[in-house]
Symmetry: C2
């Protein structure tokens, strides 16, 4: 993951023109540039030449027109929580900060949808709609902006029930590189009217245009929410239970796996009592009372058949919060296993029938490489993360960590999976894109050339050169 940075593009003329219009919303101080030059958990800062704070779609249009005219790179920026180097300014240029575009534009309880500016975070949206009995389910962990979540096709713990950003995004406002403002999709639940531009921009990581508004699905807060943990004799038993749950069509809202090592970390970090250092499923059920009770009974039976213990329930809000806070803090808990270490998260996603095998081979590989690498998984989707800890000062360990990461991506592909379940490609996974997509990569390159002919949108990302 040590990426050589080319000589940055000269953005001087563009910055001068932007200053004329936006004044001190064009910032070139070292601190703000550095803060915009790396994502979460990354070490190599690649600062942009300037940061421009946009307040409206019209302003984004004006900024892009200047950058397109001067062929200066533009990197859309939300709150900087991306994980694969998406916002590092490889070729310099402008970081286009959308965090001030944070208005919830409309909410419809009848239609279960809303329109938001791209800088609204998922937590802010949930705070906004809660009083209407609504919620936005996607939860990738970080309090990311919704624009950023769309750009990376994020998902997280609720995706098994509610889908990913691909499914919950009904439409977008996008500014194309030449400054045109286009609206994609709409408010209808489905449409067969033309190419699916919404799904093309979702997951495009800022390489085709800038998402400035989103029309998103919302959901009614369920009448009954129940959470539970279930501990298993073996990792395979835990995953076999998940496969059975999916096959039975039990509509769980969340099914999260933590391996024994990650449980050790969480028990220590979040002071979880009464739980063993064993493979564990965190479960959440949404529905009406009788349906939830029935799901619970079904899951209990399935767990028992697969070496699982009794389900430990958390129906009260506080207990549920404690449980899911521990899950949310898994990243920090993992880091506490080796204080001073750095970490990165792998992101394989495989067909569920291969998940046990994939995780077991992966944990064996980590052991063989003498690495500390706990596992957390959105196992209902076949997606798991290994949090690989390494000492950044130890070049050999860093090399082993990277070897592990590449091995996981190759294993995922060999099993019919993907190199990225939800974090995207950015800079770090580009080297594996050809292995995943083959000749389809040429189609992706044609799309990029057609929609960003001057190559100003987040250049050097996602598509290998």
């Amino acid at each position: 993951m040590l990426i050589e940075r080319p000589v940055p593009v000269d953005a001087g003329a563009a910055i001068a023109r932007l200053r004329d219009r936006f004044g001190d919303r064009v910032q070139t101080g070292a601190a703000i540039r550095d803060a915009h030059g790396r994502g979460e958990g990354l070490h190599d800062i690649m600062p942009p030449a300037a940061v421009v704070l946009a307040h409206s779609t019209a302003e984004v249009s004006a900024i892009l027109a200047v950058c397109n005219d001067t062929r200066v790179p533009v990197i859309p920026f939300g709150v900087g929580t991306s994980l694969e180097g998406q916002i590092q300014a490889l070729h310099g240029g402008i970081s286009l900060d959308l965090s001030a575009m944070d208005r919830v534009l409309s909410v419809s309880a009848a239609d279960l949808d809303c329109r938001v500016e791209a800088g609204v975070t998922r937590e802010a949206l949930n705070a906004h709609v809660k009083s209407k009995g609504l919620f936005f389910p996607l939860d990738p962990g970080a309090n990311a902006t919704l624009g950023g979540m769309a750009a990376t096709r994020a998902s997280g713990t609720n995706a098994v029930r509610y889908g990913t950003m691909r499914e919950v995004t009904l439409g977008l406002t996008v500014v194309t590189p030449d400054g045109s403002i286009v609206r994609t999709g709409g408010r209808a639940r489905k449409s067969s009217a033309g190419y699916d531009l919404t799904r093309l921009y979702v997951g495009s990581e800022g390489t085709l245009g800038v998402i400035t508004e989103l029309q998103l699905r919302l959901f009614g807060i369920p009448e009954t929410i129940a959470a539970a943990v279930c501990q298993f004799d073996s990792l395979r038993g835990a995953i076999d239970a998940v496969v059975a749950i999916l096959q039975l069509g039990i509509p769980l809202a969340r099914i999260e796996l933590l391996d024994a090592l990650q449980m050790r970390a969480c028990i220590g970090y979040s002071r979880l009592e009464g739980l063993a250092e064993a493979p564990t499923l965190f479960l959440e059920f949404h529905g009406a009372p009788a349906g939830v009770d029935e799901q619970v009974a079904q899951v209990g039976e399935v767990a028992a058949l697969n070496g699982g213990g009794a389900l430990r329930w958390a129906r009260a809000q506080e207990e549920r919060t404690a449980l899911w806070t521990a899950r949310h803090n898994a990243y920090w808990a993992a880091r506490s296993l080796r204080p001073g270490c750095e970490t990165f998260a792998t992101d394989a996603c495989v067909p569920i029938s291969r998940l046990a095998e994939c995780i077991l081979e992966t944990t064996a590989a980590a052991e063989a490489l003498d690495l500390v690498a706990p596992v957390v998984g959105h196992v209902g989707d076949g997606n798991f993360h290994m949090l690989v800890l390494f000492d950044p000062a130890d070049a050999d360990e860093r090399a082993r960590a990277e070897a592990l990461s590449e091995g996981i991506a190759r294993r995922s592909l060999a099993m019919g999976g993907t190199i990225s379940g939800e974090h995207g490609i950015g800079l770090h996974k580009m080297g594996m894109m050809a292995a995943e997509h083959g000749d389809a990569l040429a189609v992706m390159r044609s799309l990029k050339a057609a929609l960003d002919p001057r190559g100003i949108m987040n250049p050097g990302k996602m598509l290998p050169g």
Copy 2:
């Protein structure tokens, strides 16, 4: 909808080259050309110059290479059930018949997915997977090929629960116009690895390439399936009940609306006993027994609050089949209202909060135009069809029918909806594309130019010239 046909392209050289390789699988008889030159319910035949029957992806590649070389149009063809003129050979050329590519390539019960060739029909797939306890839920009415369903982004009665072809298609094999074979997506439930080519080809109506294989999600046959009908005092009451059901998050598998006129047709045509000529919801519940009972009770309460009568149940397979057969036959029932008439189906889809208003205004417009036009609706999605009956020999009536259709599309757009919920654009809706998409149409044109630079793929469709 009277479309002037340009002079067809000279396909002679291409046909000769194709004959060299494919012999009598290149057909130029009038009957087969005519059968490939119109869709369902359409009258204006625009035959291709030849029909070529492909047996494999490699053959499709060879056919496209010839046609690209000679700049001859290619129109992918499944079983000819599209409704908007998608397969009419506006500019002549080759109808590429995929119906012989009808193998189910693999089925995984553990992963709840399958891979099929594009010519497999949805009924054939269901027959194939039933013994494994699986089913493919999408049901657009016609026994369409899965390739055709993907190409038009089809959905139907189960979409409220299981999604449309957009949601259930995990990946594709696509042959691009120059004959390249690309695989999009994969078997992972989700992926953030690059542009979403799968969703780009789904709904592209054969204008970007030829879909030859599909990786599709399957679902376990539910433990309990219950069906019911509920009749209402008013159309508004029926739709208000649907809105309440959606807001409560009751996970119905189907919620279909038939208006009083359509009920009159169905009662006569399918000999439904004990039902009145009143607005009616057809409902289907999937799940485990207690959950289904609870859903039933909730729906009963909601219906009563909105002027609905008691739910009439059909738990036994035969009763359910009778009920849904009547729903399936709604089209033929409607035609029986005026024997000898022709019909077409409108396809508006609006935000659910506007659905009652949209349907009521539309039925009033039909009355004002003195047209017989019953309504059936996939109301859980906000989608409804009006089956407009007209005497093809009566030019004035045909003109009024077309005025009604255009009015519905404009009304849908004015309410934040789409001109096509599930039938696509083809030839017939092209005139409304600019009204729906505005500047986004330019982006669609860029995509078309990038991926089909010679314009051989189903030319003259979807994107207005």
